[in-house]
Symmetry: C2
DNA sequence: CTTGAATGAGACATCAATGTCTCACATGGG
DNA sequence: CCCATGTGAGACATTGATGTCTCATTCAAG
């Protein structure tokens, strides 16, 4: 009969996105299975989180690939990337905050690869003159994650409209990254 | 002898900023007192977090007042605000993620006041023509929090230099909020 | 129908954090 | 000096989540 592992994972993701402290019991109920079965699939909360992390990484890499970060203007690539990531923002936000808890442990290398790909996109934009160069790619990457998580939470709590998700993030991020067109308006107090 | 309550609070804030799951025992040790004494000061972990929340709110309100959000260009007010908030970004980041856990409970009204003050600043900037109007003040407020938390974590993990903190946030945020000076460069792909 | 594998329900032990309590110590004021 | 208050150390029970196990049931294949 083999419980639908993917279904369990997605249910868990949906639940933990809303309540990151949910019990294994709650996770099981959310997936419509018993705690025993859940435990047969994932040997513990830790294993479950690891599996969710792997899922998040896979979805991020898929989104990254679908966004074709190397094609066309970096500006458009960023737009595509955010649009591709949007459906998984909830899970990503959960994993993002979860990562803050893993104090000493080294993070999954998958994230490292993703970090580098995203940073590379920003670096490409800087090299092409589309993006300003006074903000480091590392910070821009970090900021993108922060904005994604913020937006996911804000949507979850009803503070902003879901349909604006991509637009809000892209416009705020790009507006900050895109080189200003009017040098005369620079900061002069 | 009266244990220095403020010292305990700041030690706890510093510790929880790094390890948000720290035990009451660890919090006590970090403050250089025993768990018993810690418990005499704060009737439990919950009470401690509430006290930290109150501290964070107080510091936020102080920063908000010091930034004089109603004076001069909104752009400069935002700069002042971020600069004032910077020293407390760690604590704020902790409280920010902590708030994601409080599912049903209503949030402290202090945050509501602060939210409104910040949103009001963005609204003022929009009214004066300094800020673009296609991003809602609520989202901009949320985004500011997200960037503050991201920056605090990135600094804590050594991914970005502490000295760049204010500059990174302000430049990214303002660049996105400030009206583009060159309309011809709008998104036309 | 029979059989075997997977599941659901629940009992049980474990473990970590917490809340509570007692008691000895020391420190400062009278 | 004596006392009172605050503190440190530690024992103890409680609680909530978890890991483990058993057993009855169900469902599909043969």
């Amino acid at each position: 009969m083999a419980v639908d592992r993917d279904h369990v994972l997605r249910s868990a993701a949906a639940l933990l996105t809303r309540k990151s402290t949910a019990t294994m019991d709650e996770v099981a109920k959310a997936a419509g299975i018993s705690r025993a079965t859940l435990h047969r699939q994932f040997a513990g909360r830790d294993a479950l989180v690891r599996a969710l992390e792997a899922l998040g990484i896979a979805e991020c890499e898929a989104a990254l690939e679908a966004a074709r970060p190397g094609e066309g203007p970096a500006t458009d690539a960023v737009r595509r990337l955010v649009a591709e990531v949007e459906p998984h923002a909830g899970l990503l936000a959960f994993l993002y905050s979860e990562n803050q808890l893993f104090e000493g442990e080294e993070q999954n290398e998958g994230w490292t690869r993703i970090d580098e790909a995203v940073a590379g996109l920003f670096r490409r934009g800087q090299a092409s003159g589309e993006f300003r160069i006074d903000l480091t790619p590392a910070w821009l990457t970090e900021a993108l994650y922060g904005l994604l998580a913020s937006a996911a939470w804000a949507v979850a709590e009803g503070r902003v409209a879901p349909k604006d998700f991509t637009h809000m993030i892209v416009e705020l991020l790009l507006g900050g990254v895109r080189r200003q067109g009017d040098p005369a308006r620079r900061k002069d107090s």
